[in-house]
Amino acid sequence: MKPKIDLNIAGLYLKNPVLPASGTFGYGIEYEEMVPLDQLSAIITKGLTLKPREGNSPPRIVETACGVLNSVGLENIGIERFIKEKLPRIREHNIPVIVNIGGETAIEYEELAGILDKEEVEALEVNISCPNLQKGGAAFGNDPEIAGSVIERVRKRFSRTVFAKIPPADNINPVALACQNEGADAISLINTIRSLAIDIETQKPILGGIFGGLSGPAIKPVALRMVWEVSNILDIPVIGIGGIFTGSDAIEFILSGAVAVQVGTANLVDPLSCLKITEGIKEYMARKGIQNITQLVGKAKLSEK
């Protein structure tokens, strides 16, 4: 029997539980020659803001042991150009479009939500967790009250599915709860972890933005623990993110309580990662004789409860 791996998040139908994480797959169409995009469950776009953003000064990426630091600083073409130039081209591939939105003020998020509500966009992912911004970003997601108020504003203006993407903060539980209480349909976690790399020859930070966000296998155990904890206290679904490179990585997240996962750093290495990981999940389910992926969600916690 073919294992059932599709799911529905507040009306958003996903044919498989593996999504490309925002910022690691461009606007999707960069990869159309190489990746059969229609096989992906959805596209999550590069983070978008009201006005175009130039981003941080280079270097913007550096590799570290088992991980990658990036400091792109939300470079993007702005919502207007996105709607005009990119959205119609993504739509050609017949997959749901999830637009990741960011801003420096809560009003900016609200305006973006209002604009995108009128477009053919299935869902929003509200980025209150970017570690590479002076204002907004993780500064919002580290404070339950501000996080909640951003989600409330977006919820008011956007009628379809809303994800809140939150940072790996110490107070992640109250932040996640606040997002749920203000109407988020799902929580994506974690974003990258703010970190630093130094060049000992020049005796300066390697990244132009000084600090960067750590991603990749190095953060997987942290992300797993947070998915476990947050999914314990929420009623809405959790989407797990953090260093997923293989099907087995994804299964770990699902067993810890995630209903779906996002793949980030692995996309930079292999743009086919999402599809390969989906295959890996199916093979695992076949091997274990599991018919429906929902049987696996949070299963590792059964003994705890």
Binding site: E30, R60, I61, V72, K220, T246, G280
Partner: protein, 263 residues
């Protein structure tokens, strides 16, 4: 899984040209033009990865580079390419340990190569920056080319014989004066540049900066191959940003070769 851009190639040979600097021949369905690059996973293609389900964590526990590394095309041959690289970090170190017959996973050809003009050419290669310059030299008529090579010392000079083998007139500068003129290649450029020649350059950033400045002051036609720390190599992650007159451009997609007028 191979697709239009993702390829598996096998190593035909690997040789240490000068200490710490390697030339590798790769065979497979590889094509491209001078100035373009391949984005290479610096480890043996792991066929077990194809079953998608390694034991948990195996990938992360193996001490190996995560991101791909970009390598310019050094030579285009029938049925393959060659790359020329210097060991700088863990990626190039891993690559240097691979042997004939090992297979590699490549993305490419990536980016925009040199746009060849009809005019006589001055090629400038500093250090390992000669790698893509050689591919360009092979595609030009030798009699219309002057090649300026720079290195720190005579021992680090690369490809002098190979350029001469193409019948190209070469001029050399070394920082310590152990070969050719003492000083940097810019001093050679000052002596050999004449109006109507096109400059094509690749090398360390200080060298390129001085060439860019020279080209702008002299309104010279000039193309430079730029480097930046890179993520995906496909224009998706926006990590390899290069400041230009019209804002940041992507080295991987808009470059790596840029016209000096853009900068």
């Amino acid at each position: 899984m191979q697709s239009a851009k993702c390829k598996i190639a096998s190593i035909e040979f690997q040789e240490e040209v000068v200490p710490g600097c390697f030339r590798m021949g790769l065979s497979g369905e590889l094509s491209g033009s001078p100035g373009q690059f391949f984005h290479i996973l610096c480890d043996k293609e792991d066929f077990s990865y194809k079953i998608h389900n390694l034991p948990a964590n195996r990938l992360s526990l193996k001490k190996k580079p995560i991101l791909r590394r970009p390598f310019s095309i050094h030579r285009l041959r029938e049925g393959g390419i060659e790359i020329l690289y210097k060991v700088k970090g863990i990626g190039t170190r891993m690559l240097s340990l691979l042997k004939k017959g090992d297979t590699l996973n490549l993305l490419g050809p990536c980016g925009q190569g040199f746009r060849i003009k009809e005019t006589p050419a001055i090629l400038v290669g500093g250090g390992i920056g000669v790698a893509p310059i050689f591919a360009l030299a092979e595609s030009l008529k030798p009699s219309s080319v002057t090649c300026l090579l720079g290195a720190r010392t005579k021992n680090e000079l690369l490809l002098t014989k190979e350029f001469q083998g193409l019948g190209i007139n070469i001029k050399i500068a070394t920082d310590d004066g152990s070969c050719g003129r003492k000083g940097n290649v810019l001093s050679l450029l000052l002596s050999h540049y004449t109006h109507l020649k096109t400059i094509y350059a690749c090398g360390p950033l200080p060298m390129l900066s001085s060439i860019i400045k020279f080209a702008k002051e002299n309104s010279a036609s000039c193309q430079v191959l730029m480097e930046e720390r890179m993520g995906c190599g496909m224009g998706g992650c926006l990590c390899c940003a290069l400041p230009t007159k019209t804002g940041y451009k992507k080295v991987c997609e808009d470059g790596p070769v840029f016209d000096v007028e853009e900068l």
